[in-house]
Amino acid sequence: MNAPVQPGFDVERIRADFPVLAQQHRGRPLVFLDSGASAQKPRQVIQAMVRSMEERYANVHRGAYRLSEAATADYEAARAAVARFINAADPREVIFTTNSTAAINLVAHSWGRGVMQPGQAVLVSEMEHHANLVPWHMLRDDNRGIELRICRVTDAGELDLEDLEAKLADGKVGLVAVTHMSNVLGTVTPAARIVAMAHAKGAKVLLDGSQAAVHRRVDMQALGADFYAFTGHKLYGPTGIGVLWARLEHQERMPPFLGGGDMIASVTLEGSTWAEPPAKFEAGTPPIVEAVGLHAAIDYVSAIGMPALEAHEHTLVDHAMRRLSDIEGLTLLGRAQDRGGVFSFALDNAHPHDLATLLDRAGIAVRAGRHCAEPLHARFGLEGGTCRASFGLYTTEGEIDYLAEALTKAREFFA
């Protein structure tokens, strides 16, 4: 069905690691094309979490007993694994959150409300996921005198860098908060260039890496950004754990987001002082088992190797572009030069929800709707939404062929 992309990358062997992919749906194999919403989990992740709970579980950073020390060691080992995975200069730059949304809200609160000054602006783009738009609406509407600017997206679905430059020009932008890879268009944004443009105008940069961290090798020291957010569950890890990478000097300046246990240095009835970063931003019992799961997921993709994953995805993207472009009546959203394995599309004679129901009957799981990016769909005149197929490391060219065949038949069905 498909040739190995490069020596050592065997998609069938990878698929065997994912128990859910063995499922049949009405006598047909499951074709899971919704990894962009949440990816499936390999046995290695599931087993690591089970082992954590069966053998090494207690609360962290508290008990002076063996189990708590083991759980603390595992939790901090996960932080170190994340730091290596994204080439952070220091593990303390890694703050565990519950997901990307929580990571971005942390920045909106602790940097936006805690550090930014009246008269400054936040600059986002038209292609943001609601997670990187709504927190900034809330900041703007908080009567702090912080403006929100929106960078346009070109018809090809790329960030309009001229518009970005124009909106940075007056030097009032304090923070540029943009996606590193669109969850709708698949567009990979030129992050290093955005960082250079923003820094030249005195603005900090937050990259929403929810999609990018799964599809590309991301290197914090090379990117040079200020904040980077991503989530575990799209990276073949569990739900309930996300990451905010933040420079230590920024963490020092930021007030805490949530208050509670584990984030304090000392507490009296009158007041408290904060723990050192990153503990300052990890109030309450953290997602301990989830951190172990994320660590296992990082080990899993690292063993395959991000270059091999990128090469596999590149093959899938080229194949999908070819197969989907051939389908009569199908509009593909976005034609970015640099793109990952996310394809949003609309059929001329079927509403996305009707189409998704048909594809589901064929065993194909796609997302229908506006994928938490309502303004972007409005930008492209597709208020009714699109269907989205998004690939994972277990996706095959054969599955894309099957999707193409199903789309052709769906169009006949509604003819």
């Binding site: 509403h351 929800h353 009707d354 129901t357 939404g385 509604f414």
Partner: protein, 155 residues
């Protein structure tokens, strides 16, 4: 590949979905309401014109949505014409029952003919994520009849 989906997408549904009846704005409407399914982007505006005796003289709608939601709104506007508001409410209750369970135990009684007309939508009960597509129009009708200007959702 999709033959068994003809139960859901019967010809009458596809026909009403493609060419919804009463798809227009009623400029002299006595009642109107908006319906919105924010999760999927379906959106409609429903207009009702009342006769002197309080019955529904005319019903029409505009909006966008999937074949199921458009067909349901289209069939609804045809079905409720001439009905009193209380009959329309009763039809709505029975229809929601039909959409959720595929059956309508009370349908043998009055309004049998009307429920017969809505029967093609009963296949939606097998698709839990699509039931709200079929019921949006009826939620919107309730909102219009119970007091104009309200926004209905079938979430």
């Amino acid at each position: 590949m999709f033959d068994d989906l003809r139960d859901l997408y019967q010809e009458v549904i596809l026909d009403h979905g493609r060419k919804p009846r009463n798809f227009r704005r009623l400029e002299d409407a006595d009642r109107s309401a908006r319906g919105d399914n924010p999760m999927c982007g379906d959106r409609m505006e429903l207009f009702v014109k009342l006769a002197p005796d309080g019955s529904i003289a005319d019903a029409a709608f505009q909006g966008r949505g999937c074949a199921i939601s458009m067909a349901s709104a289209s069939l609804m506007t045809e079905t409720v014409k001439g009905k009193s508001p209380s009959e329309a409410h009763m039809l709505g209750d029975r229809f929601r029952n039909l959409a959720m369970t595929g059956t309508c135990p009370e349908c043998g009684a009055e309004l049998e003919e009307e429920m017969e007309r809505l029967q093609p939508l009963s296949g939606v009960h097998e698709f839990p994520s699509r039931v709200k597509c079929a019921t949006l129009a009826w939620h919107t009708l309730n909102a219009a009849l119970d007091g104009g200007g309200k926004e209905a959702t079938s979430e």
